[in-house]
């Protein structure tokens, strides 16, 4: 159920009684959407004012708004019936095409060239893995570069480890950050820190205005429509896979033609 926005702070601030209400709503979503506040307070049981306080903590004006949001959410979650239009592959392909072709047509050739040239050195490269779906992109980046003979590529698999490592890196190090929003707070903290220590930064971030791009020395951009379910984000990374692979091809082409090194 995505109608209820549960961030860490909200969960931390819920009392024991409020957790019971939350649990009841989760397990009886359909029933709750048809109940009045009195029936719900009897069913749990608790007082009506506890329910109202609970709703307010979650950012609703009261029980009516919570019920409305649950109803809307339940309608959205139902599997489509025969009358609902099924999105065809052509429509799906069009969405994919917008992301990938858009990214490939707008990515700067100069940036690709400069990043590939930077990676031609044997300077150590550290790839920050922020966790979640983006980690797959980090694995892809490291696997492809290693398979193409790029030595000294290290993965930093947690923000604590990365923070510790960045403070002791030599100036010739290169940090790589990938973010689908360009705004993820842990990534921004680390990119600022790298910038402070004078470490060269390569980043992959969207075309929208973002902090990650601002603090990076080299930024490769992409298009991707943001998609979320509650707090979880599942934005397509396909365009970034294509950009990474294009970068690898630039790297390989430069490696084979020494004249381009200059």
């Amino acid at each position: 159920m995505s109608a209820i926005n549960l961030n860490n702070e909200i969960i931390r601030n819920l009392s024991e009684n409020e957790m019971v209400i939350l649990k009841y709503i989760y397990y009886n979503t359909n029933e709750v959407s048809k109940m009045d506040i009195k029936s719900l307070s009897n069913a749990i049981p608790c007082s009506s004012s506890t329910i109202v306080r609970f709703c307010k903590k979650l950012g609703f004006t009261g029980f009516s708004e919570l019920k409305y949001r649950i109803k809307t959410d339940t309608t959205l979650s139902l599997p489509p019936n025969d009358n609902q239009a099924i999105l065809s592959l052509t429509q799906v392909a069009k969405r994919i095409q917008t992301d990938v072709k858009g990214s490939l047509s707008l990515v700067s050739e100069e940036s690709l060239y400069n990043v590939a040239k930077l990676l031609l050195s044997d300077d150590p490269v550290y790839v920050f893995m922020p966790g979640g779906i983006t980690d797959t992109l980090c694995h892809y980046f490291t696997k492809l570069f290693m398979a193409n003979g790029r030595p000294n590529i290290y993965k930093l698999a947690s923000s604590h480890l990365a923070k510790q490592k960045i403070s002791s890196l030599s100036k010739n190090s290169i940090m790589v950050f990938i973010s689908t929003s360009g705004k993820w707070e842990k990534t921004i903290e680390l990119v600022k820190l790298s910038n402070l220590y004078g470490i060269r930064i390569i980043s992959f971030s969207p075309y929208t205005d973002n902090e990650l791009a601002k603090y990076s020395d080299y930024n490769l951009r992409f298009f991707s429509e943001k998609r979320n379910i509650g707090d979880a984000e599942y934005t397509s990374r396909l365009a970034i896979f294509f950009i990474i692979h294009t970068l690898v091809e630039y790297y390989c082409a430069l490696k084979e033609t020494p004249a381009n090194h200059e």
């Binding site: 592959l89 429509q91 392909a93 490939l104 690709l112 779906i133 492809l144 396909l238 294509f242 082409a253």
Partner: protein
Amino acid sequence: MNDILSSVNQLELSDSEARIFDYISKHRDVVAWMTLEDLCNKLYVSNATIVRFTQKLGCTGFSEFKFRLRTLPTVDKQELNTILPKKAAQFDDIISSIQEEDILYICKSIHECSSFYIYGRNISSIPATYLYDMLTTIGIPCIIVDWFDALESLSQTISSTSLILMMSEHSHEEYLPIVQNLHKRGAKIVWICSSQINKESIKCVDLSITSSTNDETMSKLSTLTYVQAIIDMLETNRAPV
């Protein structure tokens, strides 16, 4: 490999075909990455004329012709300024090769199965993990298998109502007893492979997809595009029927 264009006997070509041949001989590197539609517009000829021309050269159609143009040793070394247009053309080839019925079959099987396993190791672990992460996020339960030994064990215990989506670079011999076991136990097998699946293994597979494009075993871009199409189809339609 012989140069495909050297086999053309110009005397047997119609006027339009001679014009096509003339253009391709002068711009083979560009044509090798063009779409059929773009070439038609460029030469003011119909799709059918170009397809007939490629068939005269022994190809099944324009796609195979392009593939043979690319793989010829005479093609010039990749220049930096051609990388991006080639990548865009590669994407066009991939997206046009995806079959709607394959994607719908996979989505339907995912909805109907009791357990959904995704297998991929080495570079294939990238699309496998990507699919697993995305489906888990949108609330579709699945299990990742990224270890050959685990796949082997799974093939001994899998239930008949399960679905396994395998992704690999090749259909190595070592996979044969595994797919035979999976098939014997009644599990549904979908295999996305970067090269042709061998004849013995393919008998056990319910749906096989060859995701071969230029450099696919190293890039996995074709498999990743398939995976994205599956995710988008599942996410937008929830339960395609």
